[in-house]
């Protein structure tokens, strides 16, 4: 069956902040949903499908996503779904929905207030509940295991990791939505203590609260947009085995496979937004996707500069699309990840007319 051409026609995100104390999720989301819909030139009732991504454990309560629907204005009742995943996978579900021909437009949103709990500990609950989670390894420790495996396999150094941090933060300085927007130089960063060796604070993402919304459209609905349409030329996602001890942590085969299936040919993109919460993960992802030095990676600053959980992957897609729409290139790659040490990965290839 021929694929329908689907375009991103609206994108908005909140500023990522360390702790959003004034607003609840609904109050955070409302202006962002409004902004994305306005860009798309679509009013709520005209949107054919709505889907969101979030995670109950961030908020520490069951059914935390239910009340967020209040921000949408779901009346008359809407065709709607929710994934307990990053919003990038909600976008995938929306893309599938448009492929069935049952809808011509879709609103995708994601939200996460990671500040409410102790995030590295909350993420422990993603692990094998029998033999791993009862030891309470935190997310930073697990990433550090991966970082050492990568450094020792490739011969790269902690200096290379610091260079990723410096570049990300410098890029973030131009991004008003980013959270970490200043940086020291590599030498200064390398003089700071380890959080979990070989990772230092600059190798790890900030804890962020935030939300984002994105509008997809097909056919006639694309023409309403105030934003130049950015087409999804390919999208795919793959998961790999869970246990760290059975995986080659220095590589990301699921990213490589998703990239192949999405049609991300090496050398074919001008910019890439990679969802790499840790510095070494950016390098692993570059390797997996065959991105050369000519590709502008994470011009937004990436997840190292702002990492609202369940949102940061969707933001990568939105950032890449917004940059193409603004004329920063013709073809881009966006990536999202989920799970410990890059267990699950999504790749999306975007193109401007």
């Amino acid at each position: 069956m021929a694929r329908r051409e689907v375009a991103i026609v609206g994108f908005a995100q909140s500023a990522s902040v360390r702790r959003e104390t004034a607003l609840n999720e609904v109050e955070m989301l409302m202006p962002i949903l409004g902004e994305a819909k306005a860009q798309a030139g679509l009013r709520g009732p005209e949107i054919g499908f709505t889907v969101s991504g979030s995670c109950d454990y961030l908020a520490g309560q069951p059914f935390a996503f239910v009340s967020a629907l209040d921000a949408v204005g779901a009346w008359p009742p809407i065709a709607e779904s929710h994934v307990e995943m990053d919003g990038a996978w909600a976008l995938y579900e929306a893309w599938v929905k448009l492929q069935t021909g049952e809808a011509d437009s879709a609103l995708v949103y994601a939200f996460g207030k990671s500040s409410m709990g102790d995030l590295p500990e909350v993420l422990t609950l993603q692990l094998d509940p029998y033999t791993a989670a009862p030891l309470w390894p935190d997310a930073i420790a697990l990433a550090a295991l991966q970082a050492r495996a990568y450094l020792e396999k490739t011969g790269r150094s902690e200096r290379d990791l610091a260079a990723v941090a410096v570049r990300s933060r410098r890029a973030a300085a131009a991004n008003p939505k980013a959270q970490v927007r200043t940086t020291a130089d590599v030498e200064t960063l390398l003089a700071t203590p380890y959080l979990a060796s070989p990772l230092r604070a600059h190798d790890c993402p900030p804890i962020s609260d935030g939300c984002a919304a994105l509008v997809l459209a097909c056919g006639e609905a694309v023409r309403r947009s105030a934003m130049p349409p950015v087409w999804i030329r390919g999208i795919d996602h793959r998961i790999e085995a869970h246990a760290l001890g059975v995986r080659d942590l220095a590589a990301s085969p699921s990213t490589r496979l998703a990239g192949e299936k999405a049609g991300a040919t090496p050398g074919g993109v001008d910019l890439a937004e990679l969802h790499a919460p840790f510095t070494h993960q950016e390098l692993i992802l570059r390797d997996a996707l065959g991105l050369g030095a000519d590709v502008d990676v994470n011009p937004s600053g990436g997840a190292l500069a702002a990492n609202p959980m369940m949102v940061a992957g969707l933001i990568r897609i939105g950032e890449a699309a917004a940059r193409l729409a603004a004329g920063a290139g013709r073809r881009a790659l966006a990536h999202a990840t989920s799970g410990p040490c890059l267990q699950q990965n999504l790749v999306c290839v975007l193109e401007r007319d």
Partner: protein, 148 residues
């Protein structure tokens, strides 16, 4: 419960459940082995011994159940040094998280190494388990690993 801090109402919320997990036959054999200070893995179809064991072959999806004793010593395949342990970490002094491939195993298991200092850690180093005095049948029956 609620208090006004910096002009915002804030409140503590505790999410606490004592989950009782049934483990099925394969993990059951693994945990039973721990009570006898033995570490066991499961033999996959390709002959690899997976530790900790899983009930289904990761390549073929078939149910697997042939248990094989491994270790007790093993080799660190990667590690991360923690200078300031978190409250819930298994040790309350500086230690290393590590992936450890026990002798005879085809996969590595996650645990901690009590090595005193980061300088004593090295990928490829040999370690052996230190057992709890009275094992109860869970992963923390191994208090930690220590350099051999």
């Amino acid at each position: 419960m609620a208090a006004a801090i910096a002009g915002r109402l804030t409140a503590a919320h505790v999410l606490e459940y004592p989950y009782r997990r049934s483990v099925g036959p394969v993990l059951g054999a693994f945990f039973t082995g721990l009570t006898e200070r033995r570490v066991t893995g499961v033999k996959a179809r390709d002959g690899r011994i997976l530790v900790p064991p899983v009930e289904y072959d990761p390549d073929t999806g078939e149910a697997i159940s042939e248990m094989v004793e491994v270790g007790p010593g093993g080799v660190v395949t990667t590690w991360a040094w923690v200078e300031k342990p978190r409250r819930k970490h298994p040790l309350d002094r500086p230690f290393a998280w590590a992936l450890i491939r026990l002798d005879g195993a085809g996969s590595a298991m996650l645990h901690v190494v009590d090595a005193g200092s980061a300088a004593a850690m090295e990928t490829g180093m040999r370690v052996r388990p230190r057992w709890k005095d009275e094992p109860e049948g869970n992963i923390r029956d191994i208090v930690c690993f220590e350099p051999e």
